[in-house]
């Protein structure tokens, strides 16, 4: 009886594992999330930005807090092929790298660029990296992630 019961339990466990394994076994690989060109987004009065083309909308207030700023005219955002969002703006010292979660953008990395703040930053999508340039200073940074 115990043997039968054990056999039944092992069998049930095997079915359970098989079913759960089916749920996570489908993975599409080599997905390219890259935006060909950065999005330049103007926040509204509640510091919400909305990228109509790539269908993403979020508040930049936490980022402004990080940068000790109360408001900005526009932010620049680009997504690399791996799907990370790169966000910065004129006056920022850093580039923020986010990964999308369930109704969230989670900070993956806060990349320090300059103490003086970026003057006229812009992102360019390059084959293997994101290029950050400051059109005012002529500086260029290759962001590999």
């Amino acid at each position: 009886m115990n043997k039968q019961r054990l056999l039944y339990m092992v069998f049930s466990l095997a079915i359970l594992l098989s079913v759960s394994a089916c749920g996570s076994s489908l993975i599409l690989e080599n997905v390219d999330y890259s935006q060909p060109i950065e999005s330049v987004l103007v926040p509204d009065s509640e510091q919400i930005v909305h990228d109509q083309r790539y269908a993403v909308k979020f508040s930049i207030s936490p980022i402004l807090v990080e940068e000790n700023l109360t408001e900005i005219d526009e932010i620049r955002m680009i997504r690399n092929s791996a799907g990370f969002y790169f966000v910065t703006a004129s006056g920022f010292n850093n580039v923020y790298v986010f990964t999308p979660g369930e109704s969230t953008l989670e900070l993956v990395e806060k990349v320090f660029i300059t103490e003086n703040g970026l003057s006229q930053p812009a992102f360019n999508q390059r084959e293997t990296y994101i290029e950050l340039i400051d059109r005012n200073t002529g500086e260029s940074f290759n962001l590999n992630y």
Binding site: I37, V40, A82, G83, F84, P100, V108, E109, E139, N144
Partner: protein, 406 residues
């Protein structure tokens, strides 16, 4: 999304590299796209607003330069402007360019046609103006020469010649209008209509000017002959005929905002001209008949004139039938001579052209005139005398015979 998060976490250990480099002319892809969009819009506007082939030549060069400038970024542009493409937008630009080029060709052809029209109108206006000046001068000279009859007669002849020249000139102008507008299709008229604002005087304005001058001429105090007024009426008939054929088209072409009013204005002037001619015509016509001892009933229209003629001939015919007097015969001869030698010979064509009398009305008078002639011819007494003589001879012979027997 969950999968992505897991993947992201697996990448967290990957080295994050910042490689600052110094470049002199850093360019943002975003700016390139903005420049492309702005340049494209400007070129499209330039193409759509071009008004001459010279403009298009410049724009063609700009398009080539624009294409060369952005060709190396075609891939970037394609990604940024999806679902549009770099090649697609340039083809659209090319298509707009070709459309505008075609439109400009049509416009330039139209412009040259309007230029011709403007020149013709200028020439016409100047010629009419010269003629008016000549007429005014002649009127003044006629008034001044009242003391010298022969000189005045010569001036009046010159005056008449000027009227004839004006009629010929106006008729040529009208014929040209007919030729140009009678069979012109609606699209061509519409194009001319669009460009007609450039005309200082469009054909309708010119026609109104001509008519106003004709009205003034018909009301002139210079004493003209009946043939002059009949001639004017013929010109009026021709003018009215032309206007009936092309008036509506001209009004729609040159007065598109108020064609009915424009047409009515010309109609009113034509009526005023006819009234001015008729005032003089009926009076002069009655006087001409009267001066030849032909007293017609009063008349003030073509119908009344025809009635008066028929009434005169009918009543004279009746009288001749009744009395057959010599004076009736003389009356016939007088009317017959005036009718054939003056009315028909000198005025016949003008009377029919001017709608004073029709050919059938003239023929009807001719037939009645024949009857009148036969009725009024004096009857011969020879047969009556021969009869009397014959009777007298017979009576004489009878008397002689009786006398011999007794």
């Amino acid at each position: 999304m969950y999968t992505l998060t897991k993947v992201t976490l697996s990448f967290i250990t990957i080295l994050f590299l910042i490689l600052p480099t110094q470049l002199n002319a850093q360019q943002s892809d975003f700016e390139i796209i903005q420049d492309f969009r702005t340049g494209y819009s400007e070129l499209l506007n330039k193409v759509e607003n071009a008004v001459s082939t010279e403009d298009l030549t410049e724009i063609r060069e700009e398009i080539s330069s624009f294409e060369a400038q952005f060709e190396s970024h075609a891939s970037l542009i394609n990604g940024a402007i999806y679902p549009d493409t770099f090649d697609g937008l340039l083809q659209g630009l090319e298509s707009s360019f070709n459309t505008t080029n075609s439109n400009i060709s049509v416009i330039e052809q139209l412009n040259s046609r309007v230029d011709v029209l403007v020149n013709e109108m200028d020439l016409f206006r100047n010629r009419i103006s010269d003629m008016n000046q000549e007429m005014v001068t002649l009127e003044e000279r006629i008034a001044q020469s009242s003391a010298n009859e022969s000189r005045q007669a010569a001036l009046i002849r010159q005056y008449r010649l000027n009227i004839d020249q004006r009629d010929v000139f106006v008729s040529d102008f009208l014929e040209e209008l007919v030729e140009r507008y009678q069979n012109m299709d609606s699209s061509a008229r519409s194009e001319i209509s669009d460009a007609s604002e450039r005309l200082q005087d469009n054909p309708i304005e010119i026609l109104k000017t001509i008519l106003a001058e004709y009205v003034q001429l018909a009301n002139s105090e210079i004493s003209l002959d009946l043939s002059d007024y009949v001639s004017m009426r013929a010109q009026h008939g021709y003018f009215s005929g032309v206007w009936d054929r092309i008036g509506t088209r001209l009004a729609e072409t040159f007065e598109p905002e108020g064609p009915v009013v424009a047409e009515q204005e010309v109609d009113d002037l034509l009526s005023a001209w006819q009234a001015a001619i008729d005032n003089n015509l009926w009076e002069t016509l009655a006087t001409s008949f009267s001066e030849n001892d032909i007293e017609l009933e009063p008349f003030s229209s073509s119908t009344e004139f025809n009635t008066a003629l028929n009434s005169y001939v009918d009543s004279s015919y009746e009288t001749s039938l009744e009395s057959n007097r010599e004076e009736d015969y003389q009356k016939f001869l007088n009317f017959n001579s005036f009718w054939n030698n003056t009315v028909k010979a000198d005025w016949g064509e003008l009377l029919t052209a001017g709608n004073v009398l029709t050919y059938s009305e003239i023929s009807a008078i001719d037939i009645k005139l024949n009857n009148w002639g036969e009725a009024s011819s004096p009857t011969s007494n020879l047969m009556f005398i021969l009869l009397i003589v014959s009777i007298a001879v017979i009576v004489g012979l009878v008397v002689l015979l009786v006398t011999k027997k007794s």
